[in-house]
């Protein structure tokens, strides 16, 4: 297993400047300490489990931009159907990473249903994803990250993360509506083609 923050550092280093990165729950807390890119969308507050759905919408609206979703395992479990929806939509520019620590860390580290037993890679393949990867070793993840980013998507990455106990959940970095405006300005003002243009 690897620490969540170290796993995020790998993503931060591999992430393209124009990529959108959506984070929620534990990844959101740590991502805010690493990145201040205007194309970051820290999904706090969120609708439970819907980071993948929001990412799908962004990926369809801007098919030439890569959309990276850093999701929690509890969040993924709340919205497993989105794996099917993303595969159905053939969102090739989308990467979903599940940070699996087996707990609802932000609410006090209660065990998620199916912790340890759930095979997220099998769920993704069964939903129709062809690019599916699993890493439990940080160096291995670091070695393969660039190649995974370059693979045809949608791409699913299952990361085994060390649970951490006693840390607070992510705090909203500011009023959501104002952040939405800033985010939209950042991703709509560039040369990336938008559906409907």
């Amino acid at each position: 297993m690897m620490p969540a923050k170290e796993a995020l550092v790998v993503i931060h280093e591999a992430r393209g400047e124009e990529d959108v990165v959506i984070t929620t729950m534990t990844p959101a807390r740590d991502w805010m300490t690493l990145s201040q890119n205007p194309r970051d969308l820290v999904l706090v507050p969120s609708a439970m489990g819907h980071a993948t759905s929001m990412g799908l919408g962004l990926a369809l609206a801007q098919p030439e931009r890569r959309v990276i979703v850093c999701n929690g395992d509890g969040s993924m479990l709340m919205n497993l159907g989105s794996l099917v929806s993303i595969a159905e939509a053939r969102a090739a520019n989308m990467i979903v990473l599940v940070f699996d620590n087996g707990t609802y860390e932000v609410t006090g580290s209660q065990r998620v249903p199916g912790a340890v037993a759930v095979d997220f890679a099998a769920l993704a393949r069964g939903a129709g994803w062809h690019s599916v990867f699993e890493f439990s070793d940080l160096d291995d993840w670091r070695r393969h990250c660039d190649a995974i980013y370059a693979a045809g998507g949608p791409t699913f990455v299952w990361l085994h993360i060390e649970p951490v106990y006693g840390l607070p959940g992510p705090r909203s970095p500011g009023p959501a509506a104002a952040r939405a405006k800033q985010f939209m300005a950042a991703i709509r003002s560039e040369s990336v083609r938008t559906v409907g243009d």
Binding site: M54, G55, L58, L60, A61, S82, A176
Partner: protein, 162 residues
């Protein structure tokens, strides 16, 4: 009440880029015509909460989406619409099928008649009910008004059998 061709033409005229949907037996009949016309992409999702949040991403990315679900899906998806419309303050728009409004033969005593309108009001949605074919222009009028004001909006379409 409305044909798929009517709805497809309307969506095209309103420049709706995506319909994000879980079908029911009324609004689901519109899908083929929408896809055949080709101006609006149909995005099929597994659950209605997804629909609101996919539409959120689409809107943020510069597209012009519409959610299309049944009132039962509205009941299921409250947190997703709350987050999109009230936390992020995004002007999403939906057409919501109102099950059993015109006919309760299939589901006598359907509680959709009890909860649909209070639920829309509780979520502070600006909604219009369409119960007659001649109200068709209300869809475009409400879409255009809410687009102009940058607010969320809902059209509730009365349905017959479940």
């Amino acid at each position: 009440m409305f044909s798929g061709e009517q709805i497809a033409e309307l969506l095209d005229s309103l420049r709706v880029t995506h319909v994000v949907t879980v079908p029911d037996s009324t609004i689901g009949q519109w899908q083929d015509a929408i896809e055949e016309r080709g101006a609006t992409r149909v995005v099929r999702v597994c659950r209605e909460g997804e629909a609101w949040q996919v539409a959120t991403g689409l809107y943020m990315g510069g597209a012009s989406p519409m959610v299309m679900i049944q009132c039962t899906g509205l009941f299921e998806s409250g947190d997703a619409l709350r987050n999109a419309v009230h936390d992020w303050k995004l002007p999403l728009f939906a057409i919501i099928g109102y099950r059993s409004y015109l006919n309760q033969d299939t589901l006598p005593g359907d509680t959709c008649l009890v909860f649909t309108e209070p639920t829309l009001t509780a979520w502070k949605l600006d909604w219009r009910l369409i119960s007659k074919p001649e109200q068709f222009p209300t869809i475009a009028a409400h879409w255009n008004a809410t687009r102009e004001h940058g607010t969320a909006g809902v059209i509730v379409v009365a349905e017959g059998k479940a």
